[in-house]
């Protein structure tokens, strides 16, 4: 069985989804919300998303890829939002391997090599 993608919005939905797939490798990409035309308020997220998607075929079997929209710009800027407080996110985009200290933040997500390393290496 290959990998599968789940798309979620907001912290609660993210946590519920991650819990549902406990036991399988979980990778998550956090981005700013998208408008009606599908553009994110976060320019770095716009750049990173296609680069990350291009590497998804490298995901190990059984993994779950959670694509998570965190909220609007005002919510993200609030230093007490749940993503910052509980998941210790410091920026968007963030690509991480859930349950490990392995993550790529902001411009690190632009580098296909690093994305591939996160997906394929221990």
């Amino acid at each position: 069985m290959g990998w599968e993608e789940m798309q979620v919005r907001g912290y609660l939905e993210f946590v519920r989804t991650a819990q549902r797939y406990h036991g399988r490798p979980i990778f998550a990409l956090f981005c700013g919300d998208k408008d009606a035309e599908g553009r994110s308020w976060c320019p770095d997220c716009v750049t990173a998303e296609p680069i990350v998607r291009k590497e998804l075929h490298n995901l190990p079997d059984e993994s779950v890829f959670i694509y998570c929209l965190v909220g609007d710009r005002a919510y993200w800027k609030d230093p007490n939002n749940e993503f910052r407080k509980n998941l210790k996110l410091t920026g968007v985009p963030t690509l991480l391997k859930y349950g490990t200290p392995q993550k790529l933040v902001e411009e690190e997500c632009f580098k296909a090599e690093l994305v591939r390393m996160l997906f394929t290496e221990d």
Partner: protein
Amino acid sequence: SVQAHKEEDNPEKTMEMNGLTPVQDSYDYDLIVIGGGSGGLAAAKEAAKYEKKVMVLDFVTPTPQGSSWGLGGTCVNVGCIPKKLMHQAALLGQALQDSRKFGWQFTEEVEHNWMTMTESVQNYIGSLNWGYRVALRDTKVTYENAYGEFVGPHTIKATNKKGVEKLYTAERFIIATGERPRYLGVPGDKEHCISSDDLFSLPYCPGKTLVVGASYVALECAGFLAGLGLDVTVMVRSILLRGFDQDMANKIGEYMKEHGVNFIREFVPIKVERVEEGTPGILKVTAKSTTGNEIIEGEYNTVLLAIGRDPCTRKIGLDKVGVNINEKTGKIPVNDEEQTNVPYIYAIGDILQDKLELTPVAIQAGRLLVRRLYAGATTKCDYVNVPTTVFTPLEYGACGYSEETAVEKFGEENIEVYHSHFWPLEWTVPSRDNNKCYAKIICNIQDNERVVGFHVLGPNAGEVTQGFAAAIKCGLTKEQLDGTVGIHPVCAEV
């Protein structure tokens, strides 16, 4: 033109003179670094800056207890970093006690949870391991988690944990394989004892612990374990902190004794047996006196060996390429440019003979070496007046000569020692010891009373010492020190 023709006929000879052995094809890499610790990573990252093709091999042979860890070497995984964090955990315990005198009120007794601390520490270390991998990948340094050993000139074999072997060649090599803890060589040591390699990721609280050894590793570990509330005993064969100023070493020992660490002096373990299974279970240690025939026994949950570290140089094929090592110690002698007797093979870090075993020294040596190799620099690593700190419960910072070494080098009549006890202001209110913190400087009378040794025993000793190390490097004299106005109220003003 006759001359040119001659050199063309013998390009191999010219290459040999520059320390390069010629091969027909070009090498796989410009530089292969064996060991991904403080020294190795610093050297690799520096070489990548000069657009060299670099590979780093790092491999951790699991301990007898099965412990292993990620990229970064001893300091990051099983040394300085977790040590300082656990030392901090112990200091916080003390601070909690002190805080009552400063007005903080809490009714419950405060207890320590080993697993919570260890998980936090290991999580931080994991982020460092990952950070190093990102840094290497980003700077195009090839990293392989494989055991490297020389198999012939310019050639190493890399074996990964699945046993797959690959061969690589390089123009130059840097050996930075570091050290691992030594075992006693008595029955039961490998089966039942742990070392610092295991302690920082131990998945259960060590409980009542016997620490064997009197190195800074032994005293620092004993110190924080006691600070976390555990019953700790230190078994010492002879003196404490060999190589350090003995006056200071004894003060450290006294302080630890007065603060709950038991010492058994002049004994060595001769047998370790398991009495009860469990995590941690119970071990029985039999020890013999070094001064007579007395035998003693004791029971502990955990036995931590900290009797020294041995270089990882015996099984990396150095004989295949002719690199000399000190057969007795395993250390590698190098010249003042970190070059071994084989011109294209260099070595840095803890494995070097007669050099300091410290992370910043390895990093500095690695960076400067690479700059000399690839950027035309000439600066050599300065191993003199390197500051250090021992993070025992009462911290000890030092730079320069110990009192004994100064006497030996300059003669007793030519040195002047200025010293003082001090009582940190923060210790007054909670009524902590008023005569334990201590500072001394050793001056060379014949050279304008130049400060040749600096020693301080007290809180934040490392922070205090760093600035004085810079001053000593600039040639600080007693007069200049006297002329420097102190910051008040801080310990450093003494």
